[in-house]
């Protein structure tokens, strides 16, 4: 097979890495029971600030740290307003999404178009030359490697570790977690902050690597955060399924670019939104089993068909953490 295909598929891994960070961060946050809706603005703000910090200090590490720090800070505002002030998480998250975006454009204005430093590529000696696997996995940079490691860590954390199980419990039934010794609200603060820091890493991953530089409103980053939120749901709060969603989405975007020369009649802007109808369709598929009318229709179906349909729907359907978005008060 043509090796260029593997190189471009390797490119998909690279392009997906920031979204992986955002989706993993949001997955952890929501698993603990908090929705951080500010992701879209957050990615823009951290992309700008990460770029500016790295540009001014000439340090990539500081750029990423700035992103993570700002991400955690904004997430803490969401946590504070919802946990301590009992305000709507959706409302505060949405306002922050808007505010962060405008802050990014306003403060980043003087830096538009500047040339900054970039994350260097880091092929792994020995493995990089393996056929297929080499260009796909081992001629990447630290960012891609860490994104893959993050998926594994997030998965193990959620399902295999003691604190991770408790985290699931906190999002599922905080009262029961409280009785088992969890400090529910403190853990929610912590997971929201960690999740926010991970989302905040996604920004610099764009501005220092995948789409290097800061271009203001034409950076093409506006909207990615909303996609990350949708993929978190698509992933049913499971890191592996979430990662699958991210790669699928990036693959679709890549395909639309590849197909563009073939379909010249369609403007490129149109092809770029091709994943969205598919996204809506998948959300439709995973959520449909929860709708009342589906249940009613199912109940009225003849026996064998009903069994089969019910099984298919149940396999696809996702159930959110039972206490997602619900504040916890210990009596």
């Amino acid at each position: 097979m043509d090796s260029t295909i593997w190189v471009s598929l390797g490119g998909i891994l690279a392009a997906a890495s920031p979204i992986i960070f955002a989706v993993m961060g949001e997955t952890l946050t929501e698993r603990a029971g908090i929705i951080n809706l500010s992701v879209n603005g957050l990615i823009l703000l951290t992309a700008m600030s990460g770029f500016v910090v790295a540009y001014e200090t000439n340090s990539l590490i500081l750029g990423f740290l700035a992103g993570a720090g700002i991400g955690a800070l904004v997430a803490l505002i969401v946590a504070f307003s919802s946990i301590s002030l009992k305000q709507s998480q959706v409302a505060v998250g949405f306002v922050l999404a808007m505010l962060c975006r405008d802050l990014a454009y306003f403060l980043g204005n003087p830096y538009v178009g500047e040339q900054g430093i970039r994350v260097p590529s880091m092929p792994i000696p020995g493995l990089a030359d393996i056929q297929i696997l080499g260009p796909l996995f081992f001629r990447q940079d630290l960012q891609v490697y860490s994104s893959i490691i993050l998926i594994v860590i997030a998965y193990i954390w959620v399902f295999k570790t003691r604190p991770g199980l408790m985290m699931q419990g906190i999002g599922e039934r905080p009262a029961a977690a409280f009785v088992r010794g969890a400090n529910v609200n403190r853990m929610r603060y912590i997971y929201t902050a960690i999740g926010g820091a991970l989302v905040g890493m996604a920004g610099p991953m764009y501005s220092l690597n995948v789409k290097a530089g800061w271009m203001g409103p034409i950076s093409g980053l506006d909207g990615i955060g909303w996609i990350a939120l949708a993929i978190t749901i698509f992933g049913a709060w499971n890191p592996l399924r979430g990662a699958f969603g991210v790669y699928l989405f990036v693959l679709l975007q890549w395909l639309s670019l590849v197909l563009q020369p073939v379909l010249t009649a369609i403007p490129s802007q149109v092809l770029q939104v091709a994943p969205f109808p598919l996204m809506i369709l998948t959300l439709l598929l995973v959520n449909m089993g929860n709708a009342d009318w589906v249940e009613r229709t199912l109940a009225a179906m003849p026996e064998p068909l009903r069994r089969i349909m019910a099984r298919i729907l149940r396999a696809m359907r996702t159930q959110q953490p039972a206490s997602l978005g619900v504040p916890f008060e210990n009596e």
């Binding site: 305000q87 505060v92 306002v95 808007m98 505010l99 405008d102 939104v273």
Partner: protein, 351 residues
């Protein structure tokens, strides 16, 4: 006791505004600007002259329309984030109606009316898609709406670069300008139209009465507060949710329509001008009070118009208005949380 609560409420709201201003000033200092010069610039740029004020009113109209629609959606407990796309579809339908009727022999006034009507239909149509996805597909309206926004943007661009492209070269500047006879009649010398202002006020009054004293409004409220219980009480909740989406879509479509017939006189890529999201902020701020929303919308519109001069005068980005608006809503939300905490009797009488 009551007086104390009232004092706390007002004190906190005022402090929210002050904190938002302080925050924005800090941001300005960070950007190396003098805050007061910037604020002065915005003030002069928004209400410094009759022309400026008319510009503010011009952008107040779509904002009020959008907010009115959103108040209906909010009452039904729906976060219609897809409002941006619904504005765009309103604009697209209006453009389509104008394009198909411009060569007809109908009187211009009638064509404009039909075009505005088409815009309302377009907005409602797009909103109904989000509504159907939510009601029958279980897709949260936030995600369905966002997806539909992206698709609406793509559709707009496709039309501008494809079927409706200007003779010769298609460009981001939009479709061909319509004939002057198809423009909404304007007050001579100013960019505002009595018709669009009237439309906005009518919408406001309609929503005011709808939410205050009608069975329809009460049922929407019931659906928004507790969908399950409302259904058990006999309210057809799915239908009412769809009504809320449709009505919100109508208002959004009207806003998009006014953007075409009243302002741009063509279809441009960013036809919604962000009024949808801005309307969401206004609606969050006014706590279901339509009258208050008229004033808040005016203030927000003034910020937007005032900030236009910033890049030229102070070499600052005009998104400063967004920073101030966002900060304002954020701190008001936080302060109302503080208020609830303070007013909540700490000893607790329940149980």
């Amino acid at each position: 006791m009551k007086l104390r609560n009232l004092t706390i409420s007002w004190g906190l709201m005022v402090s929210a505004v002050v904190i938002a201003l302080l925050f924005t000033s800090l941001v300005l200092v960070l950007a190396g600007a003098q805050p007061f010069r910037a604020y002065w610039d915005i003030l002069v740029g928004s209400i410094g002259s009759i022309t400026k004020i008319s510009d503010v009113i011009r952008s107040w109209v779509p904002l009020v329309l959008v907010t009115s629609g959103l108040l209906i959606a909010f009452t039904a407990g729906l976060w219609n984030i897809g409002i941006e796309g619904q504005i765009a579809l309103g604009a697209i339908f209006t453009t389509w109606a104008l394009r198909s009727l411009e060569t007809s022999t109908l009187p211009a006034g009638l064509i404009i009316m039909l075009a505005i009507l088409a815009g309302a239909v377009g907005g409602a149509l797009w909103a109904s898609l989000v509504g159907l996805l939510r009601i029958y597909g279980g897709v949260n309206e936030i995600f369905g709406g966002l997806g539909m926004n992206f698709i609406a943007t793509a559709l707009t661009i496709f039309l501008i670069f494809g079927p409706w492209k200007r003779p010769g070269v298609a460009s981001m500047s939009g479709t061909e300008l319509f004939d002057r006879s198809l423009w909404l009649p304007q007050v001579p010398g100013y960019s505002i139209s009595v018709w669009s202002i009237g439309l906005a006020l009518a919408g406001l009054v309609l929503v005011f009465f709808l939410l205050r004293g009608t069975y329809f409004g009460l049922k929407l409220k019931a659906v928004g507060k507790n969908n399950k219980a409302a259904f058990v009480m006999g309210i057809p909740t799915s239908r009412y949710m769809l009504y809320a989406f449709l009505m919100c879509g109508v208002f959004a479509g009207l806003a998009g329509s006014i953007q075409v017939v009243g302002l741009y006189h063509r279809l441009i890529p960013s036809i919604s001008s962000g009024y949808g999201f801005l309307g969401l902020l206004v609606a969050m701020l006014v706590n279901f009070q339509p009258i208050l929303s008229a004033f808040v919308a005016f203030f927000f519109a003034a910020l937007n118009i005032g900030a236009i001069q910033l890049p030229i005068n102070l070499r600052l980005d005009s998104n400063l208005s967004g920073v101030l608006q966002g900060a304002l809503v954020l701190f008001v939300l936080l302060m109302s949380g503080v208020r609830q905490k303070l007013m909540h009797n700490p000893k607790g009488g329940e149980r």
